[in-house]
């Protein structure tokens, strides 16, 4: 504690008791850590003051945060700050202050450094809208990409799956125009984990026609991890992780909000979104947000005909409240999401003969007039998510975080049925999930930092009685628990290593009636481990290499073990295999990122190789003759799979206002046991876009125009005898977008137009399961408008 007096000089006057005490705590906490064990080059000091850019007055209580080492300090009342015990190296400093735009600076620390920060402070408004969630790389060595708010705004009116597909290496597995699931590096469904507000999304992802039940608009940023991340997130994160990032709550008392509306031509519908957030007077750090959104669309249209019964209605709402200071943070969050969607009427067929005649006719057998009505077949899904999170900083070198999640998912599927039964669901599943996690984030010594924790899950799947149909998947109860550790080790300023391990056990109890109507209750236990090793290496300022090799696992889903029945959309009988073992995978990713000509040219190349043992897939197993005619039988089978691929991204600023962007992805997926290609893998895809950006100097108004070309090649790498028809041909689509921003006092208004398939091209996509029945969507135009109010960005 010898250094104590030196630092106390910064706290000059305790005018505002509460705040000052926090500053003291923060500084003291900092001191008893690294400062006590100074050694080597880790003894530098960063200090300075934070002042207002306009009137040069000191800004008290600004937060100074070093992103690389996750260390922060709060300036005192005079705007002075200091951090000691820092290692030499390059750092990213983020300075935030109430009512200011955060300032982010790079610096090289070779000696003690004085850094004075000038912030543009809007003293009259005191609006800190949203501090962007900047944080150190949590996915060392992993290729990850994000969708930010403007990109999501441009995708207005699209589903989560379609939004994600704008990124390299991501495709969409769809069932007609209404259902889209993301495919990352060739894998989808149960092999993609979705983290919704930090909670594993549990919503019947086993079905190819089950779109994720969440509203992407509840988040302002979606991050995609294109690698196996089971160590950090648990089972199922085999192919990748989709993370809808929680947005930080405001900490000031002003009221901010946003309203969006959109109109969609193809489907003659639209959507709306509204958000309101603020703080609570007198309690600094307490913030709240409420948010709601909806979407209403009628039948879509392909280039030449209506796609009858493809309407969608969607609604969602969320409310959250949280408290945050330098030690505590706690959040309660609740969201509700519901979606009713129609399934292309012509896709509902009887038997193999019907399917073959649908394929040979080349046109859907039913095309009606445009309608908003949704008839059977249709789906009605409701999803509740509640979350409670409490974190406490034991010191500046340790933080404990407890998270609990509750999810209730209700899925009803209605078939075309006889005798007035079309309004009785043919599938009625209720899935209840509790998840809990306790994580300790820590520093060990000067460099080593990371987190370790335990996580648990309790899940019950329940077939609601009264459907009049034997359940496709049985009732089950799943319990799993895991322990994990993930540590980061920076070596010098240019290299960071990450290593981690997880051990997880799953116990599955199933209750089903066998063919003799006798209740059987088989049990399965799965124990798996995962390891990962990653490195981020900044070779030089313009070249960065990430490398990651990690193992992941996925216990077989109940549908793969026990499904038994007729799958209508696919006209196939699917049977499970209760002897299946966990899928085990090993994935290596190398990611090269370069930037030249002062950042005017950037390029990213991602290579990956993925081997999956006991990869579970559906394999044809003959035909079964029923009273409805002949059906092909598919059996869940395990094999050895290997996926190798590459993603490319290239951005070039041509002149100051022109940008050319290129995205490409390719994947080669083999079934090693059968020595043939894997079924339903995305084909090669290339996207080019040119955009023109115009913004007047000193004005926050602007204009952006863009043109996009998407080329998807025919999939030629298919297994023989697995598919009902040949893959559809190569297609090329042209899209456009335009947006204008206008600041008007405290409000900001943005208007945009997005066009898709501008030439109304007739095409079918290999990854669309309804390609047997109908063409994909034709020309579409979306007009959107966003109004932000109370934002600091809109005031001057």
């Amino acid at each position: 504690m010898t250094l104590l007096p030196i630092h106390l000089q910064f706290i000059v006057q305790e005018v505002f008791v509460l705040r000052s005490r926090f500053s003291i705590l923060w500084l003291l906490a900092l001191l008893h850590g690294p400062a006590m064990s100074q050694s080597g080059t880790c003894s530098f000091r960063l200090s300075g003051s934070v002042i207002d850019q306009h009137d040069r007055t000191p800004l008290p209580y600004a937060e100074i945060f070093l992103l690389e080492v996750e260390r922060g300090v709060v300036a005192d009342e005079q705007g002075n700050y200091a951090m000691v015990g820092l290692c030499a190296g390059s750092y990213t400093v983020r300075v935030t202050h109430l009512g200011c735009e955060p300032v982010i600076r790079k610096l090289e620390l070779r000696a003690d450094l004085v850094l004075d920060v000038r912030l543009e402070h809007h003293a009259h408004e005191l609006h800190e809208f949203e501090v962007a969630r900047t944080r150190p790389d949590e996915h060392v060595g992993q290729a990850n990409e994000g969708l930010d708010k403007p990109a999501m705004e441009r995708s207005a009116g699209r589903t989560l799956g379609e939004m994600l597909a704008t990124m390299a290496g991501v495709n969409v597995l769809s069932s007609g125009p209404t259902i889209a699931k993301p495919v990352i590096h060739g894998l989808s469904g149960n092999r993609i984990l979705t983290l919704n507000q930090g909670i594993r999304q549990e919503d019947q992802q086993w079905g190819a026609e089950h779109a994720p039940s969440l509203d992407p608009l509840t988040s302002e940023r979606i991050t995609l991890v294109k690698g196996a991340a089971a160590v950090q997130y648990g089972s199922d994160a085999l192919g990748g992780v989709v993370i809808t990032e929680p947005v930080e709550l405001p900490r000031d008392t002003g009221l901010h909000g946003e309203v969006r509306a959109q109109g969609v031509l193809n489907g003659k519908g639209g959507g709306g979104y509204g958000m309101l957030q603020g703080g609570v007077k007198g309690v600094r750090g307490l913030g709240w947000r409420v948010q709601g959104s909806g979407r209403y669309l009628g039948d879509s249209r392909s280039a030449n005909y209506m796609l009858s019964n493809t309407g969608v209605r969607e609604g969602g709402a969320s409310a959250t409240m949280g408290y945050r200071d330098h030690r505590w943070n706690s959040i309660v969050y609740y969201s509700y999401f519901t979606r009713e969607l129609g399934i292309l009427r012509a896709s509902h067929i009887g038997n193999l003969t019907d399917l073959n005649s649908a394929i040979s006719s080349g046109r859907p057998w039913y095309t009606g007039d445009f309608s908003y009505a949704i008839a059977s077949p249709r789906q009605l899904v409701q999803h509740h998510l509640a979350k409670a999170e409490v974190g406490y900083a034991v010191s500046d070198r340790g933080r404990v975080q407890l998270t609990y999640g509750y999810q209730a998912d209700d899925r009803q599927e209605f078939d075309v049925r006889r005798g007035g039964r079309s309004n009785i669901p043919a599938l009625d599943l209720f899935l209840l999930t509790h998840t809990g996690e306790a994580v300790w984030k820590h520093w060990i010594g000067q460099r080593l930092h990371g987190k370790m924790g335990v996580s648990g899950l309790h899940q019950e799947n329940f077939n609601q009685p009264g459907t009049g149909v034997s359940p496709l998947i049985p009732n089950y109860r799943k319990r799993s628990g895991g322990v994990f550790i993930l540590e980061h080790l920076p070596l010098g300023s240019r290299l960071e290593l990450e290593f981690g391990a997880r051990l997880e056990s799953t116990l599955l109890h199933v209750a089903k009636y066998n063919t003799d109507d006798v209740l059987i209750t088989p049990e399965h236990a799965f124990t798996n481990h995962a390891l990962s090793l990653g490195a981020n290496w900044t070779v030089k300022d313009s070249l960065r290499i990430r490398f990651n090799i990690s193992s992941a696992f996925r216990p077989p889903h109940v549908s793969e073990l026990y499904s038994a029945g007729l799958h209508h959309g696919a006209a196939a009988i699917e049977t499970g295999d209760d002897q299946l073992k966990s899928e085990r995978s090993l994935k290596a990713v190398v990611d090269l990122e370069g930037s030249w000509s002062e950042g005017r040219t950037t390029a990213q190349l991602t290579f990956y190789a993925h081997r999956i043992h006991d990869f579970i897939y559906l394999r044809p197993a003959g035909q079964q003759l029923t009273v409805r005619g002949a059906f092909p039988v598919f059996q869940y089978t395990a094999t050895q799979a290997q996926l190798v691929g590459m993603d490319m991204r290239f951005d070039q600023r041509i002149a100051r206002k022109w940008t050319w962007e290129f995205r490409g992805s390719t994947v080669r997926a083999r079934d090693l046991e059968q020595d043939e290609w894997l079924f339903q893998m995305p084909s090669d895809r290339v996207e080019n876009s040119v955009s023109y950006e115009f913004s007047a100097k000193g004005d926050r108004s602007g204009l952006e125009l863009g043109l996009t070309s998407t080329l998807v090649l025919q999939q030629e790498r298919i297994p023989h005898g697995l598919d009902f028809s040949a893959p559809p041909g190569t297609y090329h689509l042209v899209g456009c977008h335009a947006s204008a921003t206008k600041a008007m006092g405290k409000q900001q208004l943005r208007i945009g137009l997005r066009g898709a398939n501008l030439f109304n091209t007739t095409y079918r996509d290999y990854m669309d399961r309804f390609r047997y029945y109908a063409d994909a969507r034709g020309l579409d135009l979306t007009l959107w408008i966003t109004c932000t109010f109370g934002s600091p960005r809109s005031a001057k």
Partner: protein, 202 residues
């Protein structure tokens, strides 16, 4: 470490308050239901499943000579479906009625009335191969289109080794070309039943 304890009271009570609110909210969400692993309801009966198709040929002149064809799917059990088909006499005219039954439940349920009640949404198609039998519709739905539950048939010269295929379509497009006269090509819809009877005329 004493300074760590000197946290302002408000900062501690708020997270606690938030946690209590959360617990209350979650405990109210739980749905009342049976234990998942002991479902009290028996397995759902496939109440709308058709297991059996019966055709009855009644001689139009005598009204007493009756011939039967029956296809029972045998609940997918071993031995496959049970198919019985009488020999149809040559050069006669018949009234042919079609019945659909669910014999997987006891007593068996006649589902023909369901098909008849939704007559506009159903149509039975007959396809004869290698046999001298011509079928014609003799009933009509609310729109004047055939359903195919009541029909007429005329047998010709003797033939063996033929087939009579009976298809029940749900939601066919009865206005499509040829459908009302029994051609299934443009019917669309979903096949509810497709069975084949051996056809012998002598």
């Amino acid at each position: 470490m004493t300074y760590i304890m000197r946290i302002h009271p408000t900062s501690r009570s708020i997270p606690a308050l938030v946690a209590v609110t959360a617990l209350l909210a979650f405990s109210a969400c739980k749905k009342d239901k049976d234990d998942v692993l002991t479902p009290s309801t028996p397995p759902a009966n496939e109440e709308e499943v058709i297991t059996t198709v019966q055709l009855t040929f009644t001689d139009q002149e005598t009204s007493t000579e009756v011939f039967h064809m029956s296809y029972n799917a045998n609940d997918g059990g071993s031995g496959g479906p049970v198919v019985v088909a009488d020999v149809i006499p040559t050069q006669r005219a018949f009234d042919v009625t079609v019945r659909f039954l669910n014999e997987s439940v006891s007593p068996a349920v006649d589902l023909t009335s369901e098909v008849l009640a939704e007559g506009t949404q159903h149509q039975v198609f007959f396809q004869v191969t290698n046999g001298n039998l011509s079928m014609a519709y003799a009933d009509a739905d609310a729109n004047g289109k055939p359903i195919g539950l009541g029909n007429t048939a005329i047998s010709g010269a003797a033939s063996t080794g033929g087939e009579l295929r009976v298809i029940l379509r749900h939601q066919p497009d009865k206005n499509a070309s040829g459908v009302a006269s029994g051609d299934i090509t443009n019917a669309g819809g979903e096949t509810d039943v497709e069975v084949v009877f051996p056809l012998t005329i002598q």
